[in-house]
Amino acid sequence: MSQSITDYAPQTITELVGNPWLAMPMAAGIIMGALTVNVLMLVWAERKVSAWIQRRMGPTEVGPYGLLQTLADMLKLISKQLITPANIDKPLYHLAPLMAFAPVVGAVALFPVSRDYVLLDNDLGLLFVFALGGMAVIAIFMAGWGSNNKYALLGAVRSVAQNISYEIPLILSALSVVLVVNAMGGSTASGLNLSHIAWVQSHEHVWFILLQPLAAIIYFISALAETNRAPFDIPEAESELVAGFHTEYSGMRFSLFFFSEYTNMLIVSMLAVVLFLGGWDGPLLPGPAWFFLKSYALIFVMMWVRWTFPRLRFDQLMTFCWTVLIPLSILNLLATALAISVL
């Protein structure tokens, strides 16, 4: 990390605590606790938002405003029987939920919640997040293949096709932001460093959604597809594939998939905030407040989209990606590069 920029030196947890062997479990504890609370609240929020959009009440009877509803769900899922189906591929079947769960937890550490604090400062942060996101596909395919179930396999195959297709516009749109960062932030720090991306937006007083509106839209659509959220939730399309790749998973194994889905939502929203919405940048309120306010606003939009649009057919999904998103994102990248080299 370059020290040439005076007002920018995020402290990692290792620097705060001093001892890396103490910092690691602390970071893990912070992440796990925060993510558990986050998932519990997000599931509750999802049910409430869906209810409100449908003019219902949503959970109201379990705890005040139904806030303890997901806690009850969790208690139940913990105590449910774990069914292991016959003739499965045992290593794949048992590893898949962990494979889905671990990367998303790891990715959370990279996000700069404020100007001064980040759990892990990495010059290749953006690539690392995308790499961990890519592992979700492997987990889903392991689950689908290992389950010895036709619906699970079909869901997994769909998921692989979808995620690989949508990763291209996702990364291309993020790449055009990296170009802008490198052009604006000087050559002192890597344009792939998430703290640096957020800092450039704060320093130059411009959010990249204004410079890269097309990239922002493409990123958001691809992120919906990456997290397997409606209207792109065909890997677990209930009306066709029972429950898709997690058809054969019960109890805690299923809840790990659930956990990773909602954490994935948080990760893509946080990444969108860092890339396009200025990260922790904002007036009056402290950095973390702005960061999470923006992230949860984006998550609300994702829920809103989910409960508005019907599921796409698979060919429509692929056509949309290959004929609209990928050409547009490539054009956007070329135009950005051209503009930077001219200016």
């Binding site: 009877e61 139904g66 009850a72 449910k80």
Partner: protein, 188 residues
């Protein structure tokens, strides 16, 4: 009509078999005011509390009663208020099997298979006359209908009607909650 008039003045049917009335009326005011969710309890009670408040039904309809089940899940009646609105498509993730509709002899092995696929602890609700004892389809020498869901799966709650109103299904789920909270052991 009935002599068991409740505080709210709703009629109850005067049943021949008085054992059919629930031990504790889940629709009484007491049950609604104090959901007993925050009560500290031993682990078993806590788990039962979680189970009782998170009864995910299987997305599964057999006949006309399923329409009423859908209505109970929709905006007007909204089973999600009690945490029972998450209809899981996969039997592996469901807790309650709502048998809504006529069970034909051809369907019964499928139902048994779905029931076996559900993880314990699990419960079954027989909704409508057909699932209680064959209903209008029951007559001497009939060969097509399974006369009662309890010939296939162990049923916990029986809801009569042809079909029952969505309120009756919600009442059934509330009674099932009471049963789960009571902490009896269930097997299979």
């Amino acid at each position: 009509m009935g002599k068991v008039d409740r505080k709210d003045g709703v009629v109850r049917l005067p049943l021949v078999n008085p054992a059919n009335t629930p031990v504790r009326d889940p629709l009484g005011d007491e049950a609604m005011v104090d959901p007993a969710v925050v009560r500290l309890a031993v682990l078993d009670d806590l788990l039962n509390l979680g189970r009782a408040n998170s009864l995910w039904p299987l997305t599964f309809g057999l006949a006309c009663c399923a329409i009423e089940m859908m209505a109970a899940g929709a905006s007007k009646y909204d089973m999600d208020r009690f945490g029972a609105g998450v209809f899981r498509p996969s039997a592996r993730q469901a807790d309650v099997m709502i048998l809504a509709g006529t069970i034909s002899k051809k369907m019964s092995p499928v139902i048994r298979q779905l029931w076996d696929q559900m993880p314990s602890p699990k419960w079954a609700i027989a909704m409508g006359g057909c699932t209680i004892d064959g209903g209008p389809f029951k007559y001497p020498n009939q060969y097509a209908i399974e006369e009662g869901a309890d010939k296939i799966v162990p049923v916990d709650i029986y809801i009569p009607g042809c079909p029952p109103r969505p309120e009756a299904l919600i009442a059934g789920i509330l009674q099932l909650k009471e049963k789960v909270k009571a902490g009896r052991r269930f097997e299979g």
